[in-house]
């Protein structure tokens, strides 16, 4: 395959004081190729946002490398590269209320990143277009964020990222605050922009039904560790890791009868025996493009599930 646009290698992020370190992201590796949508799914608190924040350089990394378009962008970098990266990588935030400046009007919020790039009439046009792109009325430009519903605020955040014309977008739960109809619009819009502008996405979500629809490949993360990674269809058809299987069993379906009869697969992290050195888990490619986290005996079992002998 082509060169990855973004490469994350053995990334760790640690929070807290030296005496009580908390490893939020633990030795995570993945590549994202130009033009693809790479999904990151996992339970709340598993480190998804933290990975996104490490990529946009607002969270320091404890170990590992983040390489964007051939250049390392974590740790200290030159001013010029910092400026380049700030333009080329944008993040759409999870919490629409906390991420918008409450005292600024929408036109300023949306155009802030390009305030010096375009002069007045052009800037207004760009704001208008960005608002239309996300399904908002251009008249909204003169209103304040608190005058919008939750979903409308989220769309302002998306308009704000789009106007920068980035080539890589970290979309952190960009649609979870949106109602399904706008959700569909935004998903279609993201796909369209991707085709037109060759955008690459890191799509963070906890909703596998959305991810199945939009992602080319998906990484499943649990407590800071990627437990499974593969192309989307393989993950849905042959999930191997018990956590992936639990996630799939919990996807809500728009059908009251089957929802009532639904049997949840419960994931018990205690089922893994990783204590002794010979049982240490590894992250291996069990079939082409399908990566899985497990110790030797688990890997044997997973291979069997795929109908192969290891």
């Amino acid at each position: 395959m082509a060169e990855p646009l973004l490469s994350v290698k053995n990334l760790s992020v640690v929070f807290g004081k030296r005496r009580h370190p908390f490893v939020a992201v633990n030795d995570v590796s993945f590549d994202i190729y130009r033009g693809e949508t790479f999904g990151l799914v996992g339970e709340s608190g598993s480190g998804k946002t933290t990975i996104g924040r490490a990529i946009i350089r607002v969270v320091p990394t404890a170990a590992g490398e983040i390489i964007f378009d051939g250049k390392q962008i974590n740790n200290k970098i030159s001013k010029a590269l910092d400026k380049e990266v700030t333009h080329r990588i944008q993040m759409i935030f999870q919490d629409p209320m906390a991420s918008l400046n409450e005292r600024a009007k929408v036109d300023y919020i949306v155009s802030e990143g390009v305030y010096h790039r375009y002069k007045k009439p052009e800037r207004e046009q760009k704001v208008e277009q960005a608002l239309r792109d996300v399904g908002l009325l251009p008249e909204f430009a003169s209103r304040f964020p608190h005058e919008f519903s939750g979903g409308q605020r989220q769309r302002i955040g998306i308009a704000r990222a789009l106007i920068m014309e980035p080539d890589f977008i970290v979309a952190d739960e960009p649609i979870s605050a949106l109602d399904v109809s706008i959700r569909a619009q935004v998903l279609n819009l993201m796909s369209e922009l991707q085709k037109q502008r060759g955008l690459t996405y890191l799509f963070i979500s906890h909703d596998l039904s959305v991810m199945r629809f939009i992602c080319d490949r998906i990484a499943v993360i649990h407590k800071g560790v990627i437990v499974e990674l593969s192309d989307t269809e393989t993950l849905f058809k042959h999930p191997l890791h018990p956590y992936t299987r639990a996630l799939l069993s919990a996807v809500p379906m728009p059908d009251p009868i089957s929802e009532r009869e639904k049997v949840l697969e419960v994931y018990d992290p205690g089922q893994h025996d990783y204590a002794s050195p010979e049982n240490k888990p590894r992250f291996v490619e069990i079939e082409p493009g399908h990566f899985i986290h497990g110790n030797t005996s688990e890997l044997k079992k997973y291979a069997k599930m795929l109908g192969k002998d290891a």
Binding site: S44, Q94, G150, I182, A184, V210, L248, P252, P254, P256
Partner: protein, 347 residues
Amino acid sequence: MNEPILSVKDLNLKFSLRGQTLHALRDVCLDVYKGESLAIVGESGSGKSVLTKCFLGLNDANGYIESGSILYEGMDLAAFKKESEWLKIRGREIAMVMQDPMTSLNPLRTIGAQILESINLHQKNLTPAQAKTKMLDMLDQVGIYDPEKRAKQYPHEFSGGMRQRVVIAIALACKPKILICDEPTTALDVTIQAQILKLIKTLVKESGITAIYITHDLGVVANVSTRIAVMYAGDIVEIGTSEEIFYDPRHPYTWALLSSLPQLGVKGEKLYSIAGTQANLFARVEGDAFAPRNPYALKMDYVKRPPYFELSPTHKARTWLLDARAPKVEPPEIIRKLSRREVDLNG
């Protein structure tokens, strides 16, 4: 069904905004029955939050109830004027879990202190030790590991989903009669979501709490609700039991809403999405507010607002398509597939 615990009649709410008026709720009527789990769904901006905030007097100061009533325990909440009147209702009688967890937590106080405050406010006879045990229990109940340690942390040290669970813990600590959950689980992953919904469902069953869920996720709705109200442009356009709404929806907006679910989408193809822009609530709405976006709209829909047509004692919809004079219209194929129960995740 039993008596309504809360009854909304012809409610009209407006916001004044720099000389303009936004008509956010347009003649809303709704009975909420004791012990039921009612879901309110509808597009962003349709008035779901504004409607339920009326039950708590929590709408912004520029909003005012122009007409209508909200009856609860012999009181008309729509006529409440003073903060002191609301204080008797809020949290104690009716509690709300907000859409935006960050705004309902104090960033400067520990999570434990904030839950304790709520417990102490509503159960005054507990000793400090009992209150603390209860607080740790609540954290545990909403699936926060290591509650002892977590209780000492501040909101910014929690992930989005963990903050949401704390907010749920706080609301439950008050033991309210009506629990309103505004997008309670959008920030949660599906496994935790399933846990929380189960938790709320259990509480509803055991303590007879009446639950009102506001959500965008019709999958979630299928799981928790016994009844569903569909809102569009400040009005309830269809209401019915869960089965009626999923297997026999009648309003074209409900069809559109169901059709845009990603669970029903086909990869590589566009997801169904509703054409056009949202109704402009600053202007007077003529006829059916959904008409300009409705591929099935009749001439009548642009002229006159449709009344409710009753389909069963529990099911009614506001669309001229149900009038005896209207041409017969089949719902879209995707909706018929849903009624035949032919959707599945890998299909």
